[in-house]
Every structure is written in C-alpha cells, then in structure tokens.
Amino acid sequence: MRDHYSEFTSRGVEIVAVGPDSMDAFRQYWAKESLPYIGLPDPDRSVSKLYKQEINLFKLGRMPLNSVLDINGHIRYIHYGANMTDIPDNETFLEVIDALNSPSS
C-alpha cells in the first residue's frame, strides 16, 4: 500500500494501520519501510478484539482484517482474511472509495 499511498490521498482518504506489535517494533518497521501512513501499535490487542480480528491458531499473529469507512464513519467494505496472506489488492479498495466518492452514492 505504501507505493500507492498517493492514490488514496488524492481521493481524500487516510490509511490507518493497527497492529499487535510494540511501539518500538512499529517505529522500526515504519522507518525501515518508509511507510507514509498512520501506524497504531495495539500491543494489548484491545482494538483488535473490538473489531473481532481473528487469531492465527497455528502461528503467533493475527489474521489480516481490512476495511473502508465512509466519511461518516460507517463501514462500507470489510474483509476478514481467511489466511495470513488474504489481503485485498489496492484496486479493490480504490473501487470502493471511487463508489463512495461518486456523486450518486
């Protein structure tokens, strides 16, 4: 998503990423990958639990969960990953966003 961040910001969208790792791990990862969007460590998993993100039973970690919120804060798209790599591609997000931003929606 990093390389396509401008496609989101040009549509007026912010990207917010929540993860189970510590603040230190987040800072290192964000710096290493030069990530431009908002990174929110959730080491006690309180927000992950709030959103019913599923635990990977076989490895440490979480199943990816991705969603798009409209300007009023309502969920317009949500995808609970079926496995660790089940993450929607950027085109999927952008299609949802373009539908939100179209005058008829």
Binding site: M1, G19, L60, N66, I71
Partner: protein, 45 residues
C-alpha cells in the same frame, strides 16, 4: 466466533491509540472529514 463480526453499514467502533509519533489518534476524529482505510495487520514477525 463469526457471530459478532462487523458488517457493512455498521458504525465503525471508535477507539483511540497512540501513533508512532506519539500523537493520540481517535478514529471518530475522521468523521465528517475524510474516508479511512482501516487495516489490521497480522504482525511483523
């Protein structure tokens, strides 16, 4: 486990966390301002 998952149309549950720069970020602060792609990561390791 699937009974209480969040579905389209729901108001996204609000939360506040500290970002990597030390700023408090509240999800509801984006309401009325901009759409959000909200991603929950699997973990770096």
């Amino acid at each position: 486990m699937k009974t209480n998952i969040i579905t389209p149309g729901d108001l996204a549950p609000d939360f506040e966390l500290e970002d990597i720069h030390g700023n408090q970020v509240r999800l509801s602060s984006f309401r009325g301002r901009q759409p959000v792609v909200l991603a929950f990561l699997r973990g770096f390791t």
